[in-house]
Amino acid sequence: MRFDPGTRVRVADRPHEGHHRTPAYVKGKTGRVERVHAAFKSPEARAYGGDGLPQQPLYLVGFAQRDVWPEYRGRPGDRISLDIYEHWLEDAD
């Protein structure tokens, strides 16, 4: 596992043709690793008949809603958490 809980990470903002599990609205945003789930076979390969190996670590990453949605009008402390695979994450510090 490359990132420990608490690490600040940025979601890669790169184009990707084909199936992947990283939604556009969070690409390029910076959050914090909340939990390391486990490693799983990569859906990006499994979606096309591949074996999905090597397994990719999957993290729960939390973001401030205000960082994700510039016009967010909810409470300042509101957060949103997503499952994101390691190869979509970069060190933010």
């Binding site: 199936h19 556009a24 979606a47």
Partner: protein
Amino acid sequence: MNRAVHDRGGWPTDAPIDRSEHELADWELLADGLVHALGDHGLMNVDELRRGIESMPRAEYERAGYYERWLFSIETILGEKGILAPGELDRKLGA
């Protein structure tokens, strides 16, 4: 931002989110069971299911209901794998 039809978090809209529920029809339960059976037999996995849904033409995706998208994907993926022959479903359905 260029994104696929399913990747819609944050799409601008003035329409309220439709949160209505409906009783599942028999065919919807069967579609769910079919996907699980295909998975158990190693014929199709959930990532392929999702990829098949994401490959739907935009207008068709918008028109289709949740399990209609599943059926589209099942037909797409099983067709790719040669498990369903071209036109096989239509022939069996007499279409």
